[in-house]
């Protein structure tokens, strides 16, 4: 083991260069070495097995193998693949879905992967085109930030990121960080949300010997789904490569459902649920010398879809449509100036356009919104000693929203985020603390300007490994953060309210993580358990007052919960492996607004007390087999916990088989999925029945 340790320090410089290639999140790879003593045994076995189940061990194992080839890679930096993080040393919950696990989720939408995170609910309005937003630990969608290849994605209009706008085909790693983020070398924006979903896209490994990569895939299935995609990458020169990705989806989305109005059966077909979208991006990855990296991305999204709306009894009419265009460019630059001092900066320009139309008997609606965003961040990391580091990060954001709605106020928002962080980390102990300062100024076309907003938000975390003999870690964290009212909250016609306060969230988390090899037949066993308590106050809701509805800061929610994750890999023979992952969440989220109200202590809408998921994958040389389950206990669609508002619990079972055929450096993956086997049109959102049993098949060619 000491050998590994030497390795660790010996090639550290090399590693940092490697890390610097990628987004700042790779700093985790470095931390993974603390766990080397446990990981060592698995190196051999994992090299045999084709796949692993996103377990941290695998993550770490790969990091370990990274150390061995690091120097070689530094020579030709183009080839670096390292996109691994570990949740083991993290002081607050960090769940990771690596490429191998993601490859087991055959879905055109990222949301089906996000459902695998414990503590995260996806608000799924059904169908491929349906809106899908993430709600972590019942704090609300607006509290979860989304970071795409190291740069934050935002929606100043509604505050919610629609996960159906991201393709899973192109994602190599998905991770969810809840509360304080351990990685202090991050843009300030990463610290500015209660939880952050990190999306890392695929970046093929290229070398002089293999300068070109190509992946062509086609997925088809029920409801006339067609989903071709292509990823092409080429090495340009020593240190530089580019990739091009495109993903097209078309589906008519018309699925039959059965639904009951009381005891009367409502049979129907989901209509106006079609989607057509094209996502494309071009990436440039470059290394300038050994210490500098420059990545650039150009992204474009076109999407056109029907919004079927909820079931309205006796009125099946639906004509709402939504069109989206989104273009952005971002640049990421990192420079490890000295061994003790690093800089990273990023800049982004974003334009998004959406068009909502509806045709009703009395009028035709055509609302258009255009969002402009400019974003720049600069972070510095200073590590005076091995174990101690400090960082400072400054972000500037500009948002502007335009609309064709008459008398619109054309809001502009200037946001300054400054984060100061410190971190101490040795083999046993990791402590991080961050102080975030937010300053927001808004300008309207009209003369009434909302007040400036200022706020200091502290957060900290600690992770401790008490014993040498076992790889158990104890962790605790605290975060105090808020979300500002969105432009819709403040300026939407009639209901908008300019005097809204920010909605605050406070989170406390304590947990343990453990990884080991308790039995000979197990490749590894990884377990995390967390309990948490969070309070969301001044919650912004549409509230009826004096006979009209307004956005108001009214409610308060306290949540007590627990999240458990377990994963294991079992080698039955040299060629047959079983991977199992499971997650369970307990979420007791109560309305604590007014003690005298009927709603006091009621479970808040759309939070199940129990939810979980499981996946079993059996791999063998002939045919791989997978089973997946997503389950939830009952929820309430409205604030009052009465039978009328109760949405029954559900189990969603899926099965798949796949087979990879390798011929030289070409490979062909064939796969078939059966989804929602029990064929129940269960509801995630009330009156939005999910599709019943449906099928998909896919074929992927890789070179």
């Amino acid at each position: 083991m000491s050998n590994h340790k030497n390795n660790h320090y010996g090639i550290r410089t090399g590693i940092i260069s490697v890390l610097a290639l990628c987004s700042s999140s790779q700093i985790y790879a470095l931390e993974a070495y603390d766990e080397n003593d446990v990981q060592a045994p698995y190196v051999a076995s994992s090299s045999d097995s084709q796949s692993n189940y996103s377990s941290s061990v695998k993550e770490s194992t790969e990091t370990l193998s990274l150390t061995e080839i690091a120097e070689e890679r530094v020579l030709d930096n183009v080839t670096v693949k390292a996109k691994k993080r570990t949740n083991l040393t993290s002081g607050s919950p960090m769940q990771i879905l690596g490429e191998e696990l993601l490859s087991n989720i055959s879905s055109p939408s990222l949301s089906d992967a996000v459902k695998r995170f414990s503590g995260a609910m996806v608000k799924d309005y059904g169908g491929i085109g349906g809106l899908k937003t993430i709600n972590v630990r019942s704090m609300g969608s607006e509290h979860t930030g989304v970071c795409y290849d190291g740069v934050a994605i935002s929606n100043c209009q509604s505050g919610q990121i629609d996960l159906s706008n991201f393709s899973l085909n192109n994602v190599s790693q998905l991770s969810l960080s809840i509360g304080q983020n351990d990685d202090i070398f991050q843009p300030a924006k990463v610290h500015a949300s209660a939880a952050v979903l990190f999306i890392e896209t695929k970046r093929p490994e290229l070398s002089k010997e293999k300068p070109v990569y190509m992946s062509l895939s086609y997925r088809g299935g029920s409801y006339k789904l067609h989903n071709p995609s292509v990823l092409f990458a080429q090495r340009i020169s020593q240190g530089f490569m580019y990739s091009v990705y495109a993903d097209y989806i078309k589906s008519d989305g018309e699925y039959p459902f059965t639904y009951k109005n009381g005891n009367t059966l409502v049979d129907g077909t989901r209509t106006n649920s079609d989607i057509e979208s094209l996502k494309s991006e071009i990436n440039l990855y470059g290394n300038i010398g050994k210490r500098q990296t420059l990545n650039a991305k150009v992204y474009a999204l076109f999407s056109e879809r029907g919004l079927p709306g909820g079931i309205i009894y006796d009125n099946p009419y639906s004509a709402e449509r939504l069109g989206d265009r989104n273009y952005f460019v971002h640049l990421n630059y990192e420079n490890e100036i000295t061994e003790k001092f690093s800089l990273r900066s990023a800049a982004k320009a974003n334009y998004s356009w959406n068009k909502y139309t509806d045709v009703q008997v009395h009028s035709t609606t055509d609302n258009r919104f255009e969002q402009y965003e400019g974003y720049a961040t600069l972070s510095a990391l200073y590590s005076p000693w091995e174990a101690l580091s400090f960082s400072v990060s400054q972000d500037i954001v500009y948002n502007y929203l335009e609309s064709n709605i008459p008398d619109y106020v054309y809001p502009e928002r200037y946001t300054s985020l400054s984060a100061f962080s410190a971190k101490y980390s040795d083999r046993r102990l990791t402590i991080t603390a961050t102080l975030l300062n937010t300053f927001i100024k808004e300008k309207l076309k009209s003369s009434n300007q909302p007040d400036d907003r200022k706020r200091l938000s502290p957060s900290f975390s600690i992770s401790y490994k008490p014993f040498d003999v076992t790889n158990l870690r104890i962790r605790a964290s605290y975060k105090d953060i808020f979300r500002v009212p969105t432009f819709n909250d403040m300026y939407y016609k009639v209901v908008g309210n300019t005097s809204l306060k920010p909605e605050t969230s406070k989170q406390v988390n304590a947990g343990i993580t453990w990884i080991g090899q308790p039995f000979e037949f197990m490749e590894y066993l990884n377990f995390t358990a967390d309990i948490y308590y969070n309070v969301v106050d001044d919650k912004i809701v549409a509230f009826p007052t004096s006979f009209i509805w307004k956005m108001m800061n009214v409610s308060k929610v306290k949540t007590r919960g627990a999240d458990f994750n377990v994963s294991t890999g079992i080698n039955i023979t040299k060629h047959i492996n079983i991977g199992i992952t499971g997650a369970y969440s307990y979420m007791d989220a109560r309305d604590k607004t007014d003690r005298n109200s009927d709603l006091w202590d009621n479970q808040i809408p759309y939070t199940p007390l129990h939810s979980g998921n499981a996946m079993v994958v059996i791999e063998n040389p002939i045919l791989n087999f997978g089973y997946s389950l997503v389950a939830s206990s009952h929820r309430y669609s409205s604030n009052m916990n009465i039978a009328q508002n109760r949405i029954p619990g559900y189990y969603d079972h899926s099965l798949w088989i796949d087979r990879t055929i390798n011929i030289g450096s070409h490979s062909l993956l064939l796969r078939a999925d059966a989804i929602n086997l029990s064929d129940k049109n269960y509801e995630v959102i009330r009156f939005y029945p999910m599709p019943g049993r449906n099928y998909r098949f896919s074929i992927t060619y890789k070179y």
Partner: protein, 365 residues
């Protein structure tokens, strides 16, 4: 090893058999209340998009409220946004706005006929408020028409064009007075009252009124029409050139069509010469008040017949034409509604738990 595999598979199988078979049931009110003419129907509109409108009956003798009688009699919910009810003859006539239908019910709540309302191209027309006159029903709809329906075959008859978003309506002097609201999508005939002659069923006049006549319209004992125009809810923003226009009770002389703004008001009910008023303007702080206005004296006679602290979040007011009790509905965010009953001397009598967003109490006699 195989044992482990077996265990894993059995666990998966067990999970698979746990198919859920829970049932939703609707339980508000008393299941043993009998329908009679000594009572009143409570319209609870329900929350938009939640298909939870409901119809209950209050037994005035025993002071009990029934469960949802529509659900009880028909095994299904009445629909989305149960807007209005008209008790006429032996039947109940209901408009369900988002479900876009008119329903004819027995007084028990049993469905007699349901008419789904769409235009020629299948677009829902969203019926709104309904009233009766000499063997016919008349209801407004968001297609900009007042529709008629007979009480024999329950067939739709002629329709007459009014404003783009017509709302409450009332009959006086053989004419329909229809509020044309200031809906933000309205292009034509807003902020006015259309007058439809019921003898010819023609739109004979448009009367300009205070901003945004909406859901309150009644014919008082003096034979004149009284409506509420919501104004701009009292918004006062001089920097942007916005002057406050308060929610106002407007009298329309049913013969001369002369209009008079009387006093601030949001919801109204009337018996004899007295107008019972709830006033609450969103932009006017602490404006909630319950007052009476005497139509013969042209004056507010009681500024606070109930204190605003006693009853918050009122949603509607109705008065019992026979006994003079006052029924005020309360709709608090997220909670089921309640009906507060006061005597004509403003003493609290009783309260009833009802459905979401109660909006009307219609008397059965």
């Amino acid at each position: 090893m195989n044992q482990k595999l077996f265990k894993v598979m059995s666990l998966a199988a067990i999970a698979a058999t746990f198919a859920s078979c829970e049932k939703d049931e609707v339980k508000i009110g008393d299941t043993s209340v009998e329908i009679s003419t000594e009572g009143a129907y409570v319209v609870s509109q329900g929350n938009w998009g939640e298909n939870n409108g409901s119809l209950q009956f209050i037994d005035l003798i025993n002071k009990r409220v029934s469960e949802d009688i529509f659900y009880k009699e028909n095994d299904r919910m009445i629909g989305d946004l149960f807007q209005d009810i008209c008790v006429y003859g032996t039947k109940l006539y209901c408009t369900v706005s988002e479900s876009s239908k008119v329903m004819v019910l027995e007084r028990s709540g049993k469905l007699v006929k349901e008419i789904n309302l769409t235009d020629e191209s299948g677009k829902p027309v969203s019926p709104r408020y309904i009233t009766s006159y000499r063997g016919n029903l008349y209801f407004t709809a968001y297609d900009g028409y007042v529709h008629s329906m007979d009480t024999v075959a329950y067939e739709l008859g002629n329709k007459v064009k009014v404003g783009d978003f017509p709302e409450a309506l009332t009959v006086a002097e053989g004419k329909l007075f229809v509020n044309n609201s200031n809906h933000y999508l309205a292009q034509n005939e807003k902020n006015s009252v259309s007058v439809v002659d019921l003898a010819t069923f023609e739109n004979i006049r448009t009367i300009g009124v205070h901003l945004n006549p909406y859901d309150q319209s009644l014919t008082a004992a003096d034979g004149n029409v009284y409506i509420v125009c919501c104004g701009n809810f009292g918004q006062n923003d001089p920097e942007n050139g916005i002057e406050p226009l308060y929610s106002t009770l407007v009298k329309i002389d049913s013969k001369t069509y002369q209009t008079t703004n009387l006093t601030t008001a949001s919801k109204i009910a009337s018996r004899y010469d007295l107008m019972y008023i709830i006033y609450n303007d969103y932009y006017v702080a602490n404006s909630l008040s319950y007052k009476t206005y005497d139509l013969s004296k042209n004056a507010v006679t009681n500024e606070n017949f109930i204190s605003s602290a006693e009853l918050t979040d009122p949603n509607s007011i109705d008065v019992d034409p026979a006994f003079g009790n006052i029924y005020i509905s309360k709709s608090t965010y997220g909670s089921l509604g309640e009906i507060y009953v006061y005597s004509s001397l403003f003493k609290i009598q009783t309260t009833y738990k009802v459905g979401y967003s109660p909006a009307k109490v219609a008397f059965a006699y």
